[in-house]
Symmetry: C2
Subunit: 416 residues, 2 copies
């Protein structure tokens, strides 16, 4: 994939969105990755979309390895099922709800427990059909009155939601523990260190959910961290307590701020009992299925990576999610230089490398600044000054290196 | 990718949706590819989603080869831009429109001329920035009062919409002709023969759009075809005329019925003039950009393929879009047979083949019927009867073949 910056719809600009001070809102828009269409509504330009797809594929790879099954449910939700669980009214504050032209009620989903439970019910008869886990990567909507923090909190966003179905609490707990590890792998592959945080999540026990928090001053969540036993807790678990102590070891807690990039919940039989998702156990008795639910904010991850990985010149993309491995520029018009550049581009394309080629008619200074702003892992400069060699520089290094064409390709192939 | 039918959320069933007689509605649901959630709302189970993704990737490959740039716009649309073009009111009959909790007006997009024109305007200054084409593959909504024909006409559906931007009508026309060919390639790769049909599309000339029709009795469109010059016309072009003649050669016209799988439009400067999408020409004068628009119904293609490619036993998937290349079953429990099956599955997985493995505890007859219903290109049977060889059968053949393991893999690798 070769992205040419000339005639490109994702052009960079000097300014970010007004009234959006967060680094991700500013840098993603300045670099032409996204465009703020309206409050909480972001459009994805080619680079932004390329990062989203790489994040999605990291998630897919990890979940498919666990034999999770990918599905796609609808965002348009008739009232029916949601009324059965009481969530049509409960969600009224955050769910867009409206009538179609014939007067029927619809909402836009922000989560899918109801439809997935109905879908699973069709596939489950006996305990032999369990366990399984299904997920989707889908656009969700939320009627946010105070959308902010760029793509971190939007009115329309991309989420991965997964739901698991089990015949016993023990089987569920095993899977929940595996998913906890898989989640940390996924964030790690996206270049993020995450903290598993105990959190309240419902009605049937104090701690029945976990959040995955990436520490960042741009976050909205307060986390209390125990230096002694390394456990972390959502501040909300402690109500109005002034100086809460660690719930596990009683140690002192340190307050940190994080961005919640994922969460996992024990649902128990809440939805399965209400919606008739049952299995026949080995004694021939009907039982409601035990469920878990597992979310990752895909577009939110894009913003989080920018929050934790940038400097004053621009973004710094981890190779795993960068829209391309290198930014290429040709800094002279003589025939030898152009020929070397063409050779490089042709061979890079052959080996499947994704590159950004700055073929705009602008100065070297503008191109160098653009490369820093976009923050791809490498910058490659072909210039007549370098006498047949090619200059390569890591975004995170200050030094450049002069190497021959074969070595540039070798370096880029390792990183992509 | 190995899909195991045991513990699978996409189980087949004996019945299709009530009141949906079309082949795609019946077969896709019976085979567990989709689930009709409500009128015009279909959920995609793993096989249905796998086909959608293959169709999407065929489209992407063809458009990327033309240097089209992929973006992603929002489905939630504030009223603002749509009011400027007059389409907020024009679309009121088919666009879901509602207010958020603060009273602001939003609609759910079914097309994106307004936002893409605004997005392009930011990237365009001079004629040197033109031409380019951007596209997205996105979920759209339409308030259909009579949703029918399975996934062919839905209230929520997946569409590829592309928009091109040009400095001259001549440049636009060249691109439009190229896109016409690319569209036919795309449908061909999906296993469909399409007819290019001249159609009315707007206000500034009689024929200013083209439809791509796949002939099928399940279609809703009447097409008049000229046997003499091979041109085809949408019936609507002729108003109330009783016996219309070919608009090109005056020949007799034959009526045919088709499913519209794509359409392309000349937009001229309609949107660019209203929304200020201008370029500076070589004389330094401001001009509105000339635009084209190009749609493909992605989920509709899924249904169309089933309409034209099935028999009384089930679906018949072209290899290019089949969710997997073969359905595998093991018809005995003895150790040698099981070992051979394991060898086959392991080697197939290694070479990246996608397979459906019917590991359910059901009879051979049920498994064979399932394979016909799902309609993958090949059926592979490992049975002790076959003394170390493996039985392979094409879905479209009646004969089976006994070959060794290496040959089965070779056959499947060619087709996938």
């Amino acid at each position: 994939m070769l992205y040419r910056l000339n005639k490109f719809i994702g052009k960079s600009s000097k300014t970010g969105p007004a009234e959006e001070p967060s680094a991700n809102a500013q840098l993603l828009e300045r670099a032409g990755f996204v465009f703020k269409y309206a409050s909480g509504l972001y459009e994805y330009l080619p680079f932004g979309l390329a990062v989203l797809k790489k994040i999605e594929n990291i998630i897919r790879k990890n979940l498919n390895a666990l034999s999770c099954q990918e599905v796609l449910m609808t965002s348009l939700q008739p009232k029916g099922l949601w009324r059965k669980t009481g969530r049509w009214d409960d969600m009224a504050g955050v769910m867009y709800q409206f009538k179609d032209h014939s007067g029927k009620d619809f909402g836009l989903s922000m989560t899918h427990e109801e439809p997935i439970t109905q879908m699973a019910a069709r596939a489950i008869n006996s305990y032999k059909d369990l366990p399984f886990c299904a997920y989707q990567i889908q656009t969700k909507h939320r009627d946010e009155s105070r959308a902010k923090s760029g793509v971190i909190r939007g009115r329309e966003f991309i989420m991965k939601d997964a739901y698991s179905f089990h015949a016993s609490q023990e089987d569920f707990e095993k899977f929940y523990a595996v998913m906890t590890d898989i989640y940390q792998n996924i964030f790690k592959e996206c270049g993020l260190d995450s903290l598993v945080v105990e959190a309240p999540g419902g009605s049937f026990s104090k701690v029945n959910s976990h959040e995955f928090q990436v520490l960042s001053p741009a976050g909205e969540d307060k986390i209390l961290f125990c230096d002694k036993c390394q456990k972390a807790f959502n501040r909300d678990l402690f109500g109005a307590e002034d100086t809460p102590k660690c719930l596990v070891c009683g140690g002192e807690l340190i307050e940190k701020v994080g961005i919640e990039v994922g969460n996992i919940f024990q649902l128990g039989t809440k939805y399965s009992a209400m919606l008739g998702c049952e299995f026949t156990d080995s004694d021939g008795k009907k039982q409601p299925v035990i469920m878990g639910c597992y979310g990752i904010g895909v577009s939110r991850l894009l913003g989080t990576i920018v929050e934790v990985s940038h400097d004053d010149k621009g973004m710094i993309w981890p190779a795993s999610v960068a829209p391309a491995v290198a930014q290429v520029m040709v800094l002279s018009e003589d025939d030898g230089t152009k020929k070397l550049a063409e050779q490089f581009l042709a061979q890079a394309e052959k080996s499947g490398l994704a590159l950004v080629y700055d073929d705009r008619d602008v100065s070297a200074g503008v191109k160098l600044a653009e490369a820093d702003l976009l923050g791809l892992p490498y910058r490659v400069v072909v210039s007549e000054k370098n006498a047949g060699q090619i200059e390569i520089k890591k975004r995170t290094d200050t030094n450049t290196k002069l190497v021959d064409l074969a070595e540039v390709l070798a370096i880029l192939n390792v990183e992509s």
